[in-house]
């Protein structure tokens, strides 16, 4: 029992705000009550409960062999609970039960020594304070003896109000049909049979049922022996608490019911979250921009120098997306923090939709309260998540700052070709000038013309060929960057969305383990 209570404590803590609050409250009450009751010794508290006029007090007197309990014809008679101990009074126990009216009586038979007999007020009279007292004690006592009588045995007040709610506690319930002397001799069996049928309908099949009469003494000795046997076993308190716990655990089981038993994060939902986070972080456009920037820069670097300066008039596609980090070709890296502006309502909407989709996919497998907890867990501060995504993207090395060696080689070649053209032109011009001045005569020969024409043609060809290679390079560079960005974004998603969610699932799993242990 101790171990079960420890498990219960952990379960309450684990499932708080994930099961209906009434269940948590009730569980706390029961845990506390069980703790207290276990500390109060092994005596068995038996309560005689029943309607007004069913003869509870007379039966109490008959069982105790005394006349302590007031009996009378006026209804209702008993207005205060009364405790009879058959050994030294356990004051703490009776304080805990809240019963000031206490009596000690020598045990009429030895088995009764560890018994405390309570005579409760009625539960059905006009005096509503009586009902409240009964309701209070019903939660506390170890063993019930419900006293019914031929007039009242089928009253809705007792069946609907008390016996049916005690269906889980059938181990600690005894039912007595008192005042059978009022029935015609052949009516007793019929009456008992009918009462048994009603008890079955209440969910209490097989509870001990006795016919008694305090007037003729029928059945009272047997009832006393029953109670003595129960008291001697010293198990009633535990049995009652066990029933309380079982009922509670059933409530938890229902509140933590999941299908399938171990809910998982569907791969598809995980992938969709990744896509949504990428979209929110602007990864696709960044990758496109990177590809275009590589082409742009490559063209600048390797194009035919005569015309490629024109390209400088065009903006660098990447620089536009990373203001503040406008990497010139071949210099510096992108700063870690930049004034990257808020990506706006669209990015925010994508972020929320993505996170919600994941929570929905998991929440569908869970009971409503847990599903709400999952939603709470994965919907953190959206600004924080957006910020983390930005940081992750910014920190990712896009590889755009490196200048490939072959760009330099091509660039060198281009300048060589330019030099060749200049040389050829110079040659031609020089030759022409010298001819003009009469210093030399005749043609310069084919070499300068070849230099100029060849230089121009090769420069253009080289530029065009370089362009093709640059495009191919840019594409693979973009793919690499995309993979790196994807990893970075997914990592943020893992840390800020998937991990809290997994934690909830672990919590549920642990709760279900506890419930299994408690239920066994």
């Amino acid at each position: 029992m101790r171990r079960r209570l420890d498990l219960l404590g952990e379960l309450i803590h684990l499932t708080e705000q994930r099961v209906p609050p009434e269940l948590t409250t009730r569980a706390r009450e029961i845990a506390q009550r069980a703790d207290q009751r276990l500390a109060l010794g092994e005596q068995t508290v038996v309560a005689l409960a029943g309607a007004t006029g069913s003869g509870k007090s007379s039966l109490t007197n008959a069982l105790a062999g005394t006349g302590i309990a007031t009996t009378g014809v006026r209804r209702p008679t008993t207005s205060q609970s009364l405790a009879i101990s058959f050994s030294a009074t356990n004051r703490e126990l009776l304080d805990w039960l809240g019963i000031p009216s206490r009596h000690e009586v020598p045990a009429p038979e030895p088995g009764l020594a560890s018994l405390v007999l309570l005579d409760l007020p009625d539960h059905d009279s006009v005096v509503s304070a009586h009902r409240e007292e009964v309701d209070r004690l019903v939660e506390l006592v170890d063993q019930f003896v419900w006293v019914l009588d031929p007039q009242k045995y089928a009253d809705a007040a007792v069946h609907d109000g008390y016996l049916r709610p005690l269906a889980q506690h059938s181990d600690v319930v005894t039912v007595v049909l008192n005042q059978v002397d009022r029935l015609p001799a052949d009516g007793v069996a019929e009456c008992l049979g009918d009462l048994r049928r009603l008890l079955d309908a209440d969910g209490l099949p097989g509870v001990p049922l006795r016919a008694t009469s305090t007037r003729t003494g029928e059945g009272t000795a047997e009832l006393r022996r029953d109670l003595a046997a129960i008291a001697a076993r010293k198990a009633a308190a535990r049995a009652r608490l066990t029933a309380d716990l079982d009922l509670l655990v059933a409530g938890f089981r229902e509140a933590c019911h999941a299908s399938p038993a171990r809910p998982e994060i569907p791969e598809q939902a995980r992938a969709e979250l990744g896509t949504a986070l990428e979209a929110a972080a602007g990864v696709p456009e960044l990758v496109t921009a990177l590809r275009l920037a590589m082409i742009h820069r490559g063209a600048l670097a390797t194009g035919w120098p005569v015309l490629s300066w024109l390209r400088r008039l065009r903006p660098d596609p990447l620089a536009r997306l990373r203001p503040g980090g406008r990497p010139e070709v071949g210099q510096g890296s992108i700063p870690e923090h930049s004034a990257l502006p808020d990506k706006g309502p669209i990015a925010r909407a994508r972020l929320r939709t993505g996170v919600r989709g994941l929570a929905d996919a998991v929440g569908d497998q869970l009971p409503p309260d847990w599903s709400r907890a999952v939603h709470r867990a994965v919907t953190p501060d959206l600004d924080e998540l957006a910020d983390q995504l930005d940081q992750a993207v910014l920190r990712t090395d896009l590889g755009a700052t490196r200048i490939p060696l072959w760009w330099r080689v091509l660039r060198g070649l281009q300048w060589l070709l330019v030099a060749a053209v200049v040389l050829g032109l110079g040659w031609l011009v020089g030759n022409a000038a010298l001819t003009q001045l009469g210093i030399t005569s005749g043609a310069a020969g084919p070499i300068p013309v070849l230099l100029v024409l060849g230089g121009l043609l090769s420069g253009m060809l080289l530029g065009a060929g370089g362009q093709v290679l640059i495009r191919l390079g840019a594409r693979s560079e973009a793919r690499r960057a995309r993979r790196r960005l994807h990893r970075a974004v997914v990592e943020v998603g893992r840390r800020h969305v998937v991990e809290p969610l997994t934690e909830e699932l672990h919590r549920l799993d642990r709760a279900r383990q506890l419930i299994r242990k408690l239920g066994g």
């Binding site: 009902r131 009253d155 007040a157 029935l183 536009r320 669209i346």
Partner: protein, 573 residues
Amino acid sequence: MSATDLAGALEQLVTVLDRARLPLPLDGVTGHRNTIAALKHQTEDYLLPRAQRLDAPLLAVVGGSTGAGKSTLVNTLLGAVLTRSGVRRPTTTAPTLICHPLDRDWFRSGPVLPGLVRSDDAPPDSRAMQIVVTEQLPAGLALLDAPDIDSVDDENRRLSRQLLGAADLWVFVTTAARYADAVAWELLQQAAERDAVVSVVLNRCPAEAARELTDHLEQMLLARGLRAQQVFTIPEQPEPATGMLSPELATPLRRWLGQLAADRGRRHAVAVQTLGGALRHLDPQLRELVLAATRQADAITDLREAGAQEFQTAATEISRATSDGTMLRGEVLSRWQDLVGTGELMRGLEQRIAAIRDRFTGWFTGSKKAEEVQGAITDGLAALILDHATAATEQAAIAWSRTPWGQVLATRPTELSRPEAGFDSEVAWLVRAWQKDVLSLVENEGRGKRRRARFLALGTNAVGAALIILVFATTGGLTTAEVGIAGGTSLMAQRILEGIFGDDAVRRLAARAKRELDFRVENLLTEQQARFEERLTTLGFDDALPERLTDVADALKVASGDAFDSLTRPEGF
């Protein structure tokens, strides 16, 4: 004639009560629902017939707890075993009505208790009311042996209350063990409230305590303001095998009933007292029902407004986001810049150079890039609307879940917290439809001859995109933070559009396009909200119920006042 007014008002009451539904499980609603059912029964079973014929035979209902010996008492009064008695509880499950042959027709086919099936014998397992005719009973008074008020048999408890509600006279049977039962006093309290004529039989009374118990019972009756006509005490007997007590034990009760039946004046007085009391008691009950109905109406309004508020918020937020320039970021912005070729460079250059460049790049790539801008707008706007609409649905369901009844409504029969499947494509369709609106808007405007050439040079897609950019940027007025990015972006769009359409037309077009968008978004959200509305409609609550109840209560008050003036008027006036 005021009696017909009264009957008319009572008929109206039945109609109103018939349609009165209190669907939400608010505090005390079970009680109020029971009141509605009880009032309807009482009106049909008793008030209407009695208001129409004050001189009809009296109905004395023998009611009380299970095991109190009602059937045995009835048998004893009549000197014949007419109804079953026994040790099984509950013994009686079907009511038995005993009357003089002269009164048979009134009870067999008259307007009293119209909802009960009649029968001349006692078929087993039936709840039909058996009608037994006997000369033992004087004409003008019928006895009804009712089922118990407190056994586990739910139908018995309901039926007995219905029958007691239809009684001109209660013969309330209790016992020495029962007379302090809460259930019994709850009913006696009702009898006191409606001033019914009651006599109490204290049965199974231990002979030696008869005096004490009778005194105690009378004290209790007095303390609760109940004017019991008579308290009869019957001493405890061993359970009689014959189903009857010895006849002399019931003599006082028999004599009392006999005198009552014999005297026309006293019968009239009993009928008037109980009818008057019942009518007087109707009013406070109806007023309480008005309160209950008002609370239901309020609770439903609360739910409706909680839902509506979330969708209203979503509409406002979407409207703001699409007009304050914040949409001009990310992909929409970069696609637009691709199209118009602004970007870094444009910020510093003269517009003329841009115009030259536009011609260069625009000729070859303009149409494809315009499509890309439109595509980016479709995706972004759809994502925005989808998120806000979904969030609104989710939040509305959460708002409903704050009350237990709201939670039931939000989860059954299906979860309301998410839009239906296919909602995302509905949203995408909406955005594309709006873009088509915008395109046809600029196309119509571009038909003017003078501007046609410039319009054609740019293409409908590009001009439409420019208009959308302008809508996003300016219709809501720019916040300072956005002026930097969006201002520059939208300026370009504005120049392009003004070049084609002129200043006034641009303003008009932008406002028109924004209205169209807001209208479509509101329609979409209204559709989602309708799913919540539908749940409220299925509750079947009549919003006018508080009013109807008030009206009928007022009418009844006037009519019963008039009727009683004439009923209690001394003869000869």
